[in-house]
Every structure is written in C-alpha cells, then in structure tokens.
C-alpha cells in the first residue's frame, strides 16, 4: 500500500510548520507498511479527541471516531473490547489527555488494554489560541496565565510508568525516522502503549530551537527495567532548565491485558428467550 492512498479530500488547516505534519506523515507511512505485514488497514480504528491534534483523523482515510475533548480512551477501550481483532490507535493532546481526560489515561494504563495512544504534546492549548497545559513549564506566560503559570508541569511518561503502561516512548517531530520506529513498535506491542511526542506548536510555543539543542536518543538502555526507565524518564521533568531531553523507547514489558478478559458468546434470540425463562424460575 502506498502511504498516499491514505489521504482524504479534507483540506489541511494546520499552521505551516506545525509539528502535527510529522505525526501525520509518520503514521501514514507506518499504517501503509503494517497493512502489508498482517495488520490490514480495514482493521485499524483511529480515535481522536478535540484540539489541533484531533484533525489528523480527517486527514487519514482510515476508520475513525472523532470523539470529544479528553475522551479518546473510553471510546477506544470499548472498541477494542467489542472486537479484539481491531487495532485501535488514539491521538490525543496534552490538554486533551492530561487535563480534561487524565482519569481515562490512568485507567487505560491500569487495565493494560491493548491500544496505543499518541500524545501530541505541544505543551500549549493551540486551538483555543495559547493557554498553558499540564506539561507547560512553570512560569509559562499564556493567555490564562499572563503573569506566568505558578504550577510545575507533570511528567506524563512517569505517570504512565507507575500506572501500568507496558510500552512507553518519546519522540520528537523533528526526527521522522525515530517517530516511525516508535509508532510501529507501539502499535505492534500487545498491551497499553504510550508515545509522548514533543510536537512543536509554531504559533504559540515554538520550541524547535530548544528541542533541537537538547534532545538525544537513548540507546542501549534496558527497556525491561522499571528502575532504569524511571531514571531516564525522570532525567527531564518538562520544566525549563538545561537538562537533556531523552527520546526513544524507555520501557516495554508483557503483562495481562483487559481485552483478554472478555469472550463474546451472545446467544441468539431463541436461546436468549429460553435462558430468560429458566432464569425467571429462580424468582418464583
């Protein structure tokens, strides 16, 4: 399959230079590739929230559920429970999944449901024109925090690690090869996979220069070690400062999954009727 076959007629409305283009291109290439490797494209379902990130489902000619703000994961979880043969991929933003919908992120990891979430982490509310998010650095001057935000940022990768996600990685929208590799690994991984993507918002929080200078790819790390993953993840806490920013795969493990817990054996109408009759006898 040619990645170009996965385009739609929708007009792209992201700003020129937006990091989302890299995520779109990387995902298109990965989905086209996976189609030939036993993951047919008709079995893929994309779920997005609301925000600039979410427009990606309009730009991909793939099954999709364009949900509401913060609510990708409950939809995706149920789709997977309904049909475990489907490959379900969520696209979410830092406002979407860390502010509005953090509860669902925590629980999806806790359940280790076999779905993937790509976090378009631009660390600013773009579509609402520039407010701080849970990953904005302290002191961030946004429209809702003109004097600078008083809060420390949260570290979503660390939250995912302690909550039970079984694949955790970070990519950057400059560096499409790494992004493609991580996306593919995450989608193929059996369990809840989380990819934090440092996605630059050119209009409201242009971090290209800082990220280009400070990001590096971790190599040779023991991705099966919780402690090592935690150490790497904690080495950068999303705040200002000069700490190097690790990219790459931080953690991968195998654990029981929620989607293994359900078997579908719904009886047909006549059989249901018969079973209801039997059940009713117990209430006499």
């Amino acid at each position: 399959m040619n990645p170009k076959d996965l385009a739609t007629y929708a007009r792209n409305t992201w700003c020129p230079g937006c990091g989302n283009f890299s995520i779109l291109n990387a995902m298109r290439a990965v989905l086209a590739e996976l189609d030939g490797e036993g993951y047919p494209i008709e079995n893929v379902v994309l779920v997005s929230g609301i925000g600039c990130h979410a427009k990606i489902v309009d730009y991909l000619n793939v099954n999709s559920f364009y949900s509401i703000h913060g609510r990708t994961l409950p939809v995706a979880t149920a789709i997977k429970l309904a049909n475990p043969d489907l490959k379900v991929i969520c696209f979410s933003g830092d406002g979407d999944s860390l502010a509005e919908g953090l509860d669902h992120l925590v629980f999806a990891a806790k359940r280790n449901i076999d779905i993937t979430i790509i976090l378009h982490d631009n660390r600013v509310f773009g579509l609402t024109t520039g407010q701080y998010t849970p990953t904005s650095p302290k002191g961030f001057r946004g429209k809702s925090t003109p004097q600078g935000s008083d809060e420390l940022p949260m570290n979503p990768a660390e939250i995912m690690l302690v909550c039970g996600a079984t694949y955790i990685a970070r990519g950057y929208t400059h560096g499409i090869d790494l992004l493609q590799r991580l996306f593919k690994e995450a989608i193929v991984h059996k369990g809840f996979s989380f990819v934090d993507v440092l996605q630059v918002c050119v209009s409201y929080f242009n971090m290209y220069e800082a990220y280009n200078k400070r990001t590096y790819e971790v190599k040779g790390n023991d991705t099966g070690s919780f402690e090592e993953a935690q150490r790497i993840i904690r080495s950068w806490n999303y705040d200002g400062g000069e700490a190097p920013i690790p990219l790459g795969k931080f953690y991968e493990t195998d654990a029981p999954r929620l989607d293994q817990a359900f078997l579908d054996a719904r009886p047909k109408d006549l059989e249901r009727h018969a079973r209801i009759k039997v059940l009713l006898e117990n209430f006499i």
């Binding site: 779920v47 999709s64 939809v75 995706a76 509860d103 579908d264 719904r266 009727h273 009713l280």
Partner: protein, 560 residues
C-alpha cells in the same frame, strides 16, 4: 383483609430486611397473590431503620397502603415508628428477646428469636428465618410453603435456616388463616422481580451486548444484576472510572456494532450529558437507564423523586432527537426497555429509560406474557454496494450502518458537523442539511411509535375527571381512580411526545389532575406545551412514594 394483605417488617440495616421482605413476597406469591413490595432504607450500611412493606393482593398492585395487617418487629424502633399503621384487627409479631410490646392493643405474638438462635448456634442474620417461621404460623401459611421458599432462596446453611424457621413456626400460634388467592391456572405463581431486574431482562431480550455503569443508587442493582447474568448471556459488563467513561464506552461499543446500555441516577447523568450530545451528533445508538432519586445534588440518595423529566428531555447541547420512556412497573420496564434498545438502534440516537427509586427497587409480580413480548430488531444495515458513507442522506434520515472491519471501506464517526462520509466541515449548507437529517430521524421515530401503546388509559374510561401520571405513580393512580370512579392516564413515552394519543385519551375529560413526585409538576408543564390544561396538581416531594391513602386524601380534598 384476605383479598389484600399488607405486611411490614422492620429492623436495622444489616438485618437483611430487603431479603426478608422478599421472602414474605414469595410466600404470598406461592399462594397466588400479586405482589408489590416497597423497601425503605437510609443511606448507611449498618444501623438506622429499614423496613419493607409487602402488599399482597388478588389484583395487580403497584402501591402501598398506610395501614398494615401484620407488623413484624425485629427491634423496638419498628414498633414505635409503625404502630400508627395498625388496625384494630392487625397482628404484631416481634422478637420477644428485644422488643417490648406492652403498649400494643392488637393481638401480638412474641417469638424468642435471640434465644432460639443461641440454642441452635445460628448466625444473627438467621433471625429472619426464625421470625418468618413465626409469621407463617400466625397468619396460617402452611409450613410446607415456607420450607419450599427457603429451600429455593436461601443461599447458604439451608438446613440450619430451616431448623431455626421451624422453631419460630412452632413457638407461635395461629391467629388467622390466609387462603390461597386462587386455585385456578390463571393465577399461577409469577416471578417476583424488581423493576431494575426487569429492565435488564428486557434489554437482554432485545439483544443487549454490553452494559457499562458506575454505581449510583438506585441504579446500582442494574450493574450488579447484569454482571451476574453476563456469563449466561454473553454480555460484556464494564464498571469503569466514572460516568463520563461510561457514556463514551457505550459509544465505542456501538461504533463496533455491539448494542450497549448504561445506567445511572441524576448526579451521574450530569456527568454524561456531553456524551449524550455526542451520541446525538455522531448518531451513536445508546440506551441510558436514568433512575431518579431525590435531588438536587446528593439529595436523598435512597429515596424517590420524579424531578429529572425536563433534565432528561433536554440534556446535552444542541438539538437532536431522543427516545424517552418512563415505565410504571416491572412489566412496563421489561417491555419498554426492549423497545428502547430497538428505538436507539433503528434511529441511531440516545434512548432513555426514565425510572425512579420505586420502579427500580420495588418488587413486583412480573407476568411476561401480559407485559408483551419484545424481539431484537435489526438496525438499517449497509447493503455493501458502492462506497460506504456513514452519514448518507435518506428519506427517513436514517443512514445505513456498517461496522469495522469492512474491506476497502472506511467508517468515520464524527462529533463535529460532518459531511456524508464523516469528514468535518463548516459548510453552512451541509450544517443545515445534516441538522435536518437528524431531526427527520425524530419524525420517523414518532411515526414508528404510532404503532405502540405510548399512552395508556385505566379506570373509569367515561369519567369526565382524569388523573394524569407517569412512571411509578401508575399503580397508585390506577387504584385511586378505581375507588373514585375516575379515569387514569399514564404517559409512557415522553419523547417523541405522543400528542395525538394523549389528546385521544383526553376526549370527554373536563378536569385533569396531575399526580407527580416533584414540586413543580413537570409532566403538567410538558403537556402545557401542547395546549393541554391541567386543572389540579397533586405533588409529593418528600422522597417517599404516594401511599394509596395519601392520594385518596388529596383527591378527597380536591374533589370535595
């Protein structure tokens, strides 16, 4: 008294009063009576005062009377709080080791429950079996009937329960003898079930595949029952992090072709409303069981109300069609829950089963044959020809559905205004056309509902005075209407509003009295939109259902 027998059993939370009431209900059921049991309990786990009132009648009943024929007291509070209900010829049965019945004029029988339990080395919860043994002797229910009920319904330590019950039976004396209500085949023992259980069965019968809920009284027993039934009926039952996840999960199931329902009460439903609107826009079928309790806010968690009618009719931003039905008893609950699931899928829109604490948690004799049968109806499915468009325009407004995977096709659901394929658009023409399409589904659903009994008439059909009710007031209104020679009109479907059917039911009616468990007469307000005038309002909003006596007193006052 023998045609209509009321028994109240009371004790503290933890005594198993709900179960004890259930056992009494089953005893009368075995004798061919029709049952209604109201269970009253505060929001706590141990202590407080719980009581069950079991009304057994030769006719269908859906309400309690103030007066009772037998009072069963496991503690002193029960006597003090309920002795006003006793008639001159009522009986009192009590735990002689805990309760003093000195001030009681009526015939009474003390059972040394605590002593018997001690001698038998029985658990405290077995006091119910013991005192119910005494009850059966006092009212002349044969030992064999009790034995049969206990054998069937006591989950653990059956032998010991039977011994304790027998000693209770033997230590009492017979005051009267309850005759079987009927020996004929048409009054067989029926299943005795709660409204919530009936809702579950109706949904399952109509093809439910998944149930998602977060616990909240009085809807929690739906979740518990569905989880219990899950293995037998192939249900996927999920209890996620909160009600927001609940309503979104239901739509994930729907997208993948699994028929899902959710259940909650007012507070939980508040959290769901954004998701309800999503279902309206993305055209995701979902059934929402909304069981009302007293509000606002936390209100009275374990008590009833009908305060959320307009909330449910209007919940969610924007305009979209919805189906709303309010069952009045377990039979309505079974049948209409199945219809609600079918409506949700035929018209790809939210469908509400608007219940309340009384309908949800009370026990009823459930006659499925009389309730009406309900079958799974297939939604409009895509025929596999050409390119699939999730939101294609049709005359009915209903677009054919398809579920992934579909080789060579793409299925797009969208919360934004979207085109036929499901791509977001801000085009004004499409925005209007898609809005019209969604509203057209509401008109199509309304036409479909012409074939259903969405408004029911009871009582004296030629009366010029009618009671207007919805939900759990059905039973009390029917009974009061019969006593006063009035018509009783039950509005079952509240959206799309069955205007023509209601007007037909109102033919010849000059005086219309709304009976509701809220303080602002919400149904009266709703029918007012259709130019229907309500002359009197009888409202109750203290968390408790109308007793027959409450309603009769109000009617007596109004009708002079």
């Amino acid at each position: 008294m023998m045609n209509d027998f009321s028994t109240l059993i009371g004790g503290i939370a933890g005594d198993g009063i709900n179960e004890a009431g259930g056992t009494i209900a089953r005893l009368f059921n075995r004798l061919g009576f029709r049952i209604f049991m109201y269970y009253d309990y505060p929001s706590l786990i141990r202590g407080g005062h719980n009581f069950s009132v079991v009304r057994a009648s030769k006719q269908n009943v859906g309400a309690c009377k103030d007066q009772i024929d037998v009072l069963i007291a496991l503690n002193q509070d029960t006597v003090e709080m309920h002795k006003w209900r006793l008639l001159d010829d009522s009986f009192v049965i009590y735990d002689a080791d805990r309760v003093k019945a000195d001030g009681i004029k009526q015939r009474s029988c003390g059972i040394p429950v605590t002593q018997i339990l001690k001698e038998e080395g029985a658990l405290p919860v077995m006091k119910n079996s013991c005192i119910l043994g005494g009850f059966c002797q006092v009212v002349g229910i044969e030992w064999a009937v009790l034995k049969d009920v206990l054998l069937k319904h006591i989950p653990k330590k059956v032998e010991q329960n039977l011994r304790v019950a027998r000693r209770g039976y033997d230590s009492a004396v017979e005051f009267c003898r309850i005759e079987r209500a009927s020996r004929s085949q048409d009054q067989l023992a029926l299943p005795v079930m709660t409204g919530n259980q009936a809702i579950c069965l109706g949904l399952i019968k109509a093809g439910l595949g998944a149930y998602v809920a977060y616990p909240m009284t009085p809807s929690s027993s739906l979740l518990d029952f569905m989880a219990r039934l899950a293995p037998d009926f192939g249900l996927k039952v999920v209890h996620p992090e909160n009600e927001i996840a609940v309503i979104l999960m239901a739509q994930g199931f729907a997208y993948a072709g699994i028929k899902a329902a959710v259940g909650t009460s007012g507070g939980g439903f508040c959290l769901m409303t954004e998701g309800v609107s999503l279902a309206g826009m993305a055209e995701n079928p979902v059934v929402i069981v909304m069981s009302q309790r007293t509000g606002p806010s936390t209100g009275l968690p374990t008590y009833t109300a009908q305060g959320d009618l307009h909330f449910v009719l209007n919940a969610g931003q924007g305009e979209f069609p919805r189906f709303v039905v309010s069952p009045g008893d377990a039979a309505d609950a079974y049948y209409w829950s199945g219809i609600a699931l079918n409506m949700a899928w035929k018209y790809q829109t939210p469908a509400f089963i608007l219940s309340d604490k009384v309908t949800s948690e009370s026990l009823y004799s459930l006659d499925l044959d009389a309730a009406g049968d309900v079958f799974e109806e297939e939604p409009l499915l895509w025929d596999g020809q050409g390119k699939y468009n999730r939101y294609s325009y049709t005359n009915t407004g209903v677009s054919p559905m398809a579920f992934p995977p579909q080789k060579g096709q793409v299925i797009k659901a969208d919360s934004y205004v979207h085109d036929e394929f499901g791509i977001t658009t801000e085009d004004p023409k499409i925005a209007k056309e898609m809005n019209d399409k969604r509203l057209q589904k509401g008109r199509s659903m309304a036409e479909d509902l012409d074939g259903y009994e969405t408004v029911k008439v009871f009582g004296e059909e030629t009366s010029k005075t009618a009671l207007l009710c919805w939900g759990s007031n059905k039973g009390v209104c029917i009974e009061a209407a019969r006593k006063f020679g009035l018509k009783a009109i039950q509005v079952l479907v509240l959206s799309p509003f069955p205007e023509a059917k209601l007007l037909q039911a109102l033919e010849g009616v000059h005086r219309l009295i709304a009976v509701e468990c809220n303080s602002t007469a919400q149904l009266a307000r709703l029918v007012g939109f259709y130019g229907i005038k309500i002359h009197d309002r009888i409202l109750k909003y203290d968390g408790r259902p109308f007793s027959l006596d409450d309603l009769q007193a109000d009617l007596g006052r109004i009708l002079g």
